[in-house]
Every structure is written in C-alpha cells, then in structure tokens.
Assembly symmetry: C2
Homo-oligomer: 157 residues x 2
C-alpha cells in the first residue's frame, strides 16, 4: 500500500483505536457503568455502540461479515436500556479488541481504487449522484465517530 494519504488515514484510525483501548482498559467496570454526564449514556453503552457500528464496517466495505449482529439492537437501534445491555458488558472489552484487530487486517486487503469505489450500503445510482460517499469516506467518518465518543468517555475519569 503506497498511497501516503491512505497510510496516514490508517495511522489516524489506529491512533483513535489505541486511545480508546487504553481508556477502556483503564476504567473499572464500575466507572464504565456510570453515565458520562447526569442522565446521559453510560460508558458501557458507548463502548457497545462503537463495537456494533465498527463491526458493521466489514459489510459496508465489502471485506467480511460482522461478528456481533446481536449488538445492533441494544447499542445502535435502541437508546440505552440498562437491563437490556447488562448481559453484554462482560464481553465488550474483548469484543472491542477483536473487532479492531479484524478491521486492521481487512483494511490492507483493499486497493487504492477500491477505497474510492462506492460502499456496499449504497446503490450504483446513488453513487453516481454522490461520488464522495465511497469507502474512504466511511473510513474518515468512522474515525471521527471514534473521536467523538472518546471525548465523552474521557469524562468518566
């Protein structure tokens, strides 16, 4: 992979992932169970949300299948319901690691042209109307999405 812009975008992704890994490993179970601000989502909900959203990237990029479809309902489709998410919290630290190891491998299977091709969640027709919505834009958007929630998880310290 020789494209320097693409390589730097992978570095930027990896940096956000490693900051999140660090925070998730540092915070205790009790800290992650706290809301990031009174009345807001808990740390666990945000961690589950990031796993579920990024797990689905494999299918959007066309590089593989999502591993944890069962996280979509409790952490993406629905707002936080503590009883609903409780059965997952013991698994989330490990899932977070596994999803991001898998994605890092899958990223390297795409060529420069493939990154600029339409993503799998849109039709050819829609892509003609909006050629900016390609796989590379998914990578950039999801990197920002990690940063967005990193800024919130930091409030649990």
């Amino acid at each position: 992979m020789e494209n320097k812009f693409l390589n730097l975008s992978f570095s930027s992704w990896n940096l956000q992932v490693s900051r999140l890994k660090n925070i998730i490993e540092t915070l205790s179970d009790e800290q992650l169970a706290q809301p990031i601000s009174p009345g807001r989502n808990s740390g666990w909900y945000i961690v589950g949300h990031l796993i579920a959203v990024n797990d689905a990237m494999s299918e959007i990029l066309g590089t593989g299948k999502r591993a944890y479809p069962e996280l979509h309902s409790p952490f993406v489709q629905n707002s936080e319901q503590p009883a609903f998410i409780q059965s997952f919290t013991g698994l989330l630290r490990n899932y977070f690691l596994l999803v991001h190891v898998r994605l890092q491998e899958e990223f390297t299977t795409l060529t420069e042209d493939a990154w600029l091709a339409r993503h799998a969640a849109m039709t050819d027709e829609d892509f003609l109307k909006n050629p900016l919505r390609n796989k590379y834009s998914v990578l950039l958007n999801r990197t920002n999405h990690l940063s967005y929630h990193l800024g919130q998880l930091r409030l649990l310290y």
Copy 2:
C-alpha cells in the same frame, strides 16, 4: 486540487466545522456557560479552545499568521478560569466563523506535495525520523480534535 483522498479529507473537515457552527449558533449564551458535565470545562472554554488551536494551524501549515494569539493563554495554556475567559465570550461565535473561513481558503493554496511535507513546528531532522508528521497528518489530527470536542458540546443540549 485533483487528489480524491485529499478532497475527501477536506469534506470530512468541513462536515465537523459545520456541525460545530450549528451547535454554537443553536446554544444560548447561558447554555454555553454551563459545564459539559459537573466540574468540567464550560461550553465557552471548549469553543475558545477550538478557535485558538485551529487559528494556530495557519502557522503550522505555513499558510498564514494566526489572528488571535491572545486566545492561546486563556484557552490552551491554562485550564479554565472563568474570570479570565469572560472578556472573550462575546467574541467567540464570530471568531469561530472567521477562523474557519480563512482556513478553508488557505487549505486550497497547498499542493498535494506540500501536504506531505513536514509541518512548520518541526525541524528537518525530526521529520527524517518521523516522516508521518506532515501537514496532512495535522489536518487529520485537527479534524479528530474537532469531533472529540463536538461529542462533549452535544452534552449541553
């Protein structure tokens, strides 16, 4: 500017800037004076911080001079001191707009090769050791920095 990766990175930057503009215009002065979570920075501090950090990008990219050096001390160098930042809050909405209009113009003055060249805050020697620290990496890092604080400002709604 023909490089698609670079163009998509500008779109990603612009998207974060426009989300922040929207939130800053929507929140009242009183909402921005609130801490994002008990005991944390206020909305005003975060807005001032984003202006001061991004204002300095012109000098790091070598495209111009910062316009508001007086914001560095209250919003970057020092943690929040309400009495110290109070005299600036009436100016920040406008400064936020002006800084980002200027940067958007300056971004277009850099060639593809210039984006991959070392940024002005590092020496040639350091750049040889770490060639990833170029102007493009500054753009990606600052985009993530905007998202990070956007996730926090959203808590003021």
